[in-house]
C-alpha cells in the first residue's frame, strides 16, 4: 500500500500533459454540468441535456480510445476487437439496468425482462442471476472483459501470434461474439439487445440530474484512468512495454518474459474498455450486438491514429474530434461522411503517422530549436 503511495507520489517522468489535461477536462465538465442544471432553459449559456449526453458519449469513447492506444500505441499490438470488451462491459451494465426495471416492464413480470417474456422463457438464465446487485454487475463489467482478454492474450501471446495475425484474430473474436449475441437463444435480447431502462441505483435515468452526474462520473473516471495509465507507462514497466514494441526479441534476450507483459497490458486495456462500455450504456440508453461489429472496432483505431498514437492525450483528443466530426457530418451531408471517414483513414496513415499530436510535437520542436540552448548538440 505504502509502496503504491510512493509509486504515485514519485514525480519521476510523469507525462507533462497529464495535469493540464485533467484540470481542463474537469473544468469543462463542471461548467457544462452547472450550465445545464442551474441555468434557465432560455439562458444564452444554457447547455442542453442533449449536449450533456453527447459529451458523456464522447468521453466514453475517449476512454475506449485510451484503452486501444495503450496496447497499440505503446505496445504495438493492433487489436481490431476492442469493441468486444467495450460491449461486454456495456452488457453487464445493461443487464443490471434491465433487472432494475423489475415489474415495470410492459408485461409486468416481476423478474423476467420483457424480451424473455414474449419469447416465453420460464425462469432467468443462470448468467442473469446476481445482476440485480449493482456492485456485482460492476465487478462483472470489468471481470468479464478482463477474463476474456486474459484467456485470449494468454493463448495468443504465448504462442507468439503477433502483428497482422493477431489483428485478424481479434477481429474474428469480436465477429464471433457478434454472431453469438445476435442469437436470441443466448438470452441477451438478440438483435434488439437491452433497452427501455428505467433507473440506475434508484435514480431516474430520464432525470437531467442523473444524466449530469453520469457525465461527471465518466469525466472523473476518465481522469483517473488517464493518470493511472500515465504512471504505469512511465514506470519501468512502461519502458519494457516500449522495448517490446520496438524490439521484442531483444527484450526477451535481456530476460523479460514479453508474453506476460503483453498479457497483463492487454487485460488492463480490456478492463478500461469494459469500464467505458459500462459508462456508455446508461447514457445512450441501449446496448445491442451492433457494438460488437468489427467496423466499430476498426473505427476506434482510427480515432487513436488521428489523435496520435503513443500519446494518451492524443487518443483522447482523436476520439472526441472524430466523433464530433461524425455528429456534424452525418447531420449535414450523410453521404459525404463515409467518404470523409475513409479519406481520413488513408490520409492519416499516409501523411500523419503520428497523428495530430505529431504535428503538435513538431511545432514544439521548432520552437525549441528557435531558442538558443540546444541540449543535445551541446552534449554531442
Amino acid at each position: 500500500m505504502t509502496r503504491l503511495k510512493e509509486w504515485f507520489s514519485s514525480g519521476r517522468s510523469t507525462g507533462k500533459h497529464t495535469m493540464p489535461f485533467v484540470v481542463i477536462l474537469l473544468a469543462i465538465t463542471f461548467l457544462a454540468s452547472a450550465a445545464n442544471l442551474y441555468l434557465p432553459e432560455d439562458s444564452a449559456l444554457y447547455v442542453s441535456t442533449y449536449t450533456i449526453t453527447l459529451l458523456g458519449k464522447y468521453l466514453c469513447y475517449a476512454m475506449l480510445a485510451l484503452a486501444v492506444d495503450i496496447i497499440w500505441g505503446y505496445c504495438g499490438i493492433l487489436s481490431l476487437g476492442h469493441g468486444a470488451f467495450f460491449a461486454l462491459g456495456g452488457y453487464a451494465m445493461g443487464m443490471y439496468l434491465m433487472r432494475q426495471i423489475g415489474d415495470r416492464g410492459v408485461y409486468g413480470h416481476p423478474t423476467l425482462p420483457d424480451f424473455m417474456v414474449f419469447l416465453d422463457w420460464q425462469e432467468l438464465p443462470w448468467f442473469w442471476l446476481g445482476m440485480d446487485q449493482f456492485w456485482f454487475a460492476m465487478i462483472m463489467a470489468v471481470l468479464v472483459p478482463g477474463l476474456l482478454a486474459f484467456v485470449f492474450g494468454w493463448l495468443a501471446f504465448r504462442s507468439r501470434v503477433t502483428g497482422v495475425y493477431l489483428s485478424i484474430m481479434t477481429q474474428a473474436l469480436t465477429y464471433a461474439l457478434l454472431l453469438a449475441f445476435f442469437r436470441n437463444e443466448m438470452g441477451f435480447g438478440g438483435n434488439n439487445g437491452l433497452t427501455d431502462f428505467k433507473e440506475i441505483v434508484g435514480f431516474d435515468l430520464q432525470a437531467d440530474s442523473t444524466r449530469v452526474s453520469l457525465f461527471m462520473i465518466t469525466a472523473f473516471l476518465l481522469a483517473i484512468v488517464f493518470v493511472i495509465s500515465q504512471r504505469i507507462l512511465s514506470s519501468r514497466f512502461g519502458k519494457v512495454v516500449l522495448a517490446i514494441r520496438d524490439a521484442e526479441s531483444r527484450s526477451r534476450f535481456i530476460g523479460y518474459r514479453t508474453d506476460r507483459y503483453k498479457v497483463w497490458l492487454f487485460v488492463y486495456s480490456a478492463v478500461i474498455a469494459g469500464i467505458a462500455g459500462a459508462l456508455y450504456v446508461p447514457q445512450v440508453g441501449i446496448i445491442n450486438p451492433g457494438e460488437f461489429s468489427p467496423i466499430n472496432s476498426i473505427e476506434m483505431v482510427i480515432w487513436v491514429a488521428v489523435g496520435g498514437r503513443g500519446t494518451l492525450i492524443g487518443a483522447v483528443i482523436g476520439a472526441i474530434l472524430v466523433n464530433y466530426a461524425k455528429t456534424r457530418f452525418t447531420a449535414i451531408l450523410p453521404d459525404a461522411w463515409l467518404f470523409a471517414l475513409g479519406a481520413m483513414f488513408v490520409f492519416v496513415t499516409l501523411y500523419l503517422p503520428k497523428g495530430l499530436m505529431g504535428i503538435y510535437a513538431q511545432l514544439m520542436a521548432k520552437r525549441k530549436t528557435a531558442k538558443p540552448q540546444k541540449s543535445e548538440e551541446s552534449q554531442a
Binding site: F150, V240, R252, R260, W264, Q379, A380
Partner: protein, 287 residues
C-alpha cells in the same frame, strides 16, 4: 476453462511465480567447463544447419568461432540462447542447467547475454533507459511495475556508460546513435546485466579501426570473470583477441586450437582460409 487453469497456474499459493524465482541459481562449474554442447543436430527442411556438433567452453575463456557463411555459427548461438529449437542433442550451462528446456528469457536470466549481428537497441528510448532495462534485476511483471532505480543501480549504469564511452549521450535517443555507438551500446546492455557467458556475433562489423581496437581491448578485459564467445569474420581482429579458436564447417566442428594451429591445419586451409580473403574484403566492404 483453460482460462481457469492458467489463472490457477499463475496464482498458485505454494509457489512463487517462475519469473520471481532468483534467476541466478548458481551455475555449477567445478569441472570449470561452463558450456557443454553435445551432439547437436538441426535441419531446416533438408538443409542441415547443425550436424552432430560438439563444443565445450571453459569458464572465463574467450573463444572465437570462425567459419564460412552457413557454417552454423549463428544457428549455434540461436540454439544456445533458446531462439531456435534443435532436433536432437543437449546444451548445458554449467553442469546443472539444461538450456534446451528453457526459453530465451530464462536463459538470459541465467546470465547468458547475446549480441546480434546487426545491432538491436531500443531506438525510441534513451541510452540511459536502454541500460536501465538491461540491468540485472527481477524482471517479472509486478516488481518491474513498482521498481525504482536504486543509487547502486544508477552507479552501475554510469560505470557501464564509462566503459562503452557513451557518458555524454546518456539522454540521447538510442536511435540517434551512430552504427558503431549502437554496437557499443548493445555490448553495454550485456554488461549491465553482468552475465556469466556472453555470445557476441560480429562485434566489429562496420566499425572503424580505432573502434575495433577498443572493442578488442574491451572483450579481452572481459574474459576472466566472464566467459566470452565471439563470432567474427575479421581475421585480424580474431588473431588480436583469440586464445582458442574453433572452426565450424557445415554445422560441425572442423578444428580447434590456437590461431597458429588453425592456420596450419590442412582441411581448414582447404575449406576456409581459401575464402578468407573474399570474406575479409566483404567485411571491409560494408564498413
Amino acid at each position: 476453462m483453460s482460462a481457469i487453469e492458467s489463472l490457477r497456474e499463475t496464482f498458485r499459493r505454494d509457489q512463487t511465480w517462475p519469473m520471481l524465482q532468483s534467476s541466478q541459481a548458481n551455475v555449477n562449474v567445478d569441472k570449470d567447463v561452463i558450456l557443454y554442447v553435445e551432439g547437436l543436430n538441426l535441419s531446416f527442411d533438408g538443409f542441415k544447419a547443425l550436424n552432430d556438433l560438439n563444443l565445450y567452453v571453459n569458464d572465463g575463456e574467450l573463444r572465437c568461432l570462425i567459419g564460412a557463411n552457413g557454417a552454423g555459427k549463428t544457428t549455434l548461438m540461436d540454439v544456445i540462447t533458446g531462439k531456435t529449437q534443435c532436433d536432437s542433442g543437449s546444451v548445458f550451462f554449467g553442469q546443472n542447467h539444461n538450456l534446451l528446456n528453457k526459453d530465451e528469457a530464462a536463459i538470459a536470466q541465467l546470465g547468458i547475454g547475446r549480441k546480434f549481428q546487426k545491432p538491436t537497441v531500443f531506438e525510441a528510448q534513451t541510452v540511459f533507459d536502454n541500460l536501465e532495462l538491461s540491468l540485472k534485476t527481477d524482471k517479472s511483471v509486478l516488481p518491474t511495475l513498482f521498481s525504482r532505480l536504486s543509487p547502486t543501480q544508477i552507479d552501475r549504469i554510469d560505470e557501464v556508460l564509462k566503459i562503452i564511452g557513451l557518458e555524454q549521450h546518456r539522454f540521447m535517443l538510442a536511435g540517434a546513435l551512430s552504427h558503431g555507438q549502437k554496437q557499443w551500446l548493445e555490448i553495454g546492455m550485456l554488461l549491465a546485466a553482468d552475465p556469466r557467458l556472453l555470445l557476441i556475433d560480429e562485434p566489429v562489423a562496420g566499425m572503424t579501426a580505432q573502434e575495433t581496437e577498443r572493442t578488442a581491448e574491451l572483450l579481452t578485459s572481459l574474459a576472466g570473470e566472464r566467459t566470452v564467445i565471439v563470432v567474427e569474420h575479421d581475421m585480424e581482429f580474431v588473431r588480436s583477441i583469440a586464445r582458442t579458436v574453433t572452426v565450424l564447417h557445415q554445422g560441425s566442428v572442423l578444428a580447434e586450437g590456437t590461431m597458429d594451429e588453425i592456420q596450419s591445419n590442412k582441411d581448414v586451409i582447404e575449406v576456409y582460409l581459401g575464402e578468407e580473403q573474399a570474406e575479409a574484403n566483404g567485411a571491409g566492404g560494408d564498413a
